[in-house]
Amino acid sequence: MHEIVIHLYQVMFAIGIFVLISLGLAVIFGMMRVINLAQGEFIMLGAYFCLFATQLGLDFWLAVLCAGLGVGLFGILVERLLIRFLYGRIMDTLLATWGLSLFMVGLVTSVFGPQEAGVDAKLGKVTFGAYSIAEYNLVLIAVAGALLALTFAIWRYTRFGLVARSVMQNPTMAAALGVNPRKYYMLTFGFGSALTGVAGAMLAPLVGNQPTMGSFYVAKAFVTVISGGPAPLTGTLYASTLFGATDGLISYRTTQVLGEIGVLLIAIVLLRMLPLGITGHSARRA
């Protein structure tokens, strides 16, 4: 019995991690079609916002909020200065965002140094039979679920979400109905960045934070969103569930390296069989 619950926990935790690192990209790449190679560095920036804010003495959860806000504003700045000139130009976007990622690594290294730094969320452990589970990991699962639900609700049920969806489908027609498409591109990019910032802050207590940590996440995020297919949010949930379950079970039974190899193999087989992704055949997209 305890064994089953602990497996379930491992799987849920792995799914939560996948959701966190992919959700921002589901908005930025899945909805806006912007291939942001600096996505990993946006996560890193979120972690460093959190690190810096807690070092200033801020409560951890306030620091997470700061990271969301800070990276969201940073995203808006990047959209204004860089991305908005590159919509629809894939190669240029790749180069520009790759350059941005190098710039961000350099900037954070020169401010904080290259060494690893930790963040303490100041939460305890719960014991469960012979096992003990970090409370923080349970909270992380809940936060990942809440962020996904929040994003889905905003996208599906608010005026902002409605207008943003219409702009992503046909900006010219949206403009003919009174919408300023540039504003919604900017806000949507900022929203995706904010989600990424929160993700980075949530990861900060779990990993050694380094300026180069982003490269560890960017590929996973893209694999998840691409496997999800044309409905970015539900697709990301499905793909995260599949990859999280694989990763959680294999990593727990063997090693983390084998877990990641398992995820990669499943992704290859999945995209071979469903080239459009898991949601490639559904009619509604959200």
Partner: protein
Amino acid sequence: MLEIRALRAGYGAINILNGVELSVAQGEVVGILGHNGMGKTTLLRSLIGELPASAGEIRFDGAEIAGWQSHRRSLAGLGYVPQGRAIFPDLTVLENLRMGEAMRPGPSAIPEILGHFPALGDLLNRPGSGLSGGQQQILALARCLVGRPKLVMLDEPTEGIQPSIVEEIAATLARLRRELGLTILLVEQDLRFIEALADRVLIIQKGRISAEIAPSELRRPDILEAHLGL
């Protein structure tokens, strides 16, 4: 309501409109007739602001709007139903309608407009991509009217639509015009449709308004031949 003077516009270096002059008065339905490639769609696209005007004036409701961006023109009261309808495929019918008024303050016009288009009432949760051409045309018109435009611009509403639905759309437009007092600028190739609705008919040729005829003259082959070479 709308005054256009010496309007020039086109794609890059190629001018399609070569000095269009026309005016539309409040409550009037003006039809524009012309062959493909004469500038009908280009005219409407430059009026809504999708294409910048390279020269000339567009006065709408007292303001000079030639330099305005598309969304500002829409908010000023220019309604636009483009060629091909441009229904948002992944939004439901109701969401498409809500987009018509998403940027406008005040109470929703959707219940009232649905009263004029009862056929849409059964389709509200259908995705836009799941509608027939005729249904999409009706939705595009309803979406435009939900924004309570002062002037409605229609680009070939009969294109690719079954004849029976064309008659239905003509009847609906004629009725709405009476009930809502619509002002309409209509670009068409379907002679019967234009005759059924328009107060005046302008002929567009090579990017200019070349003549004005009465709707009744659309039935006279000699006049059409003289103006259009039909």
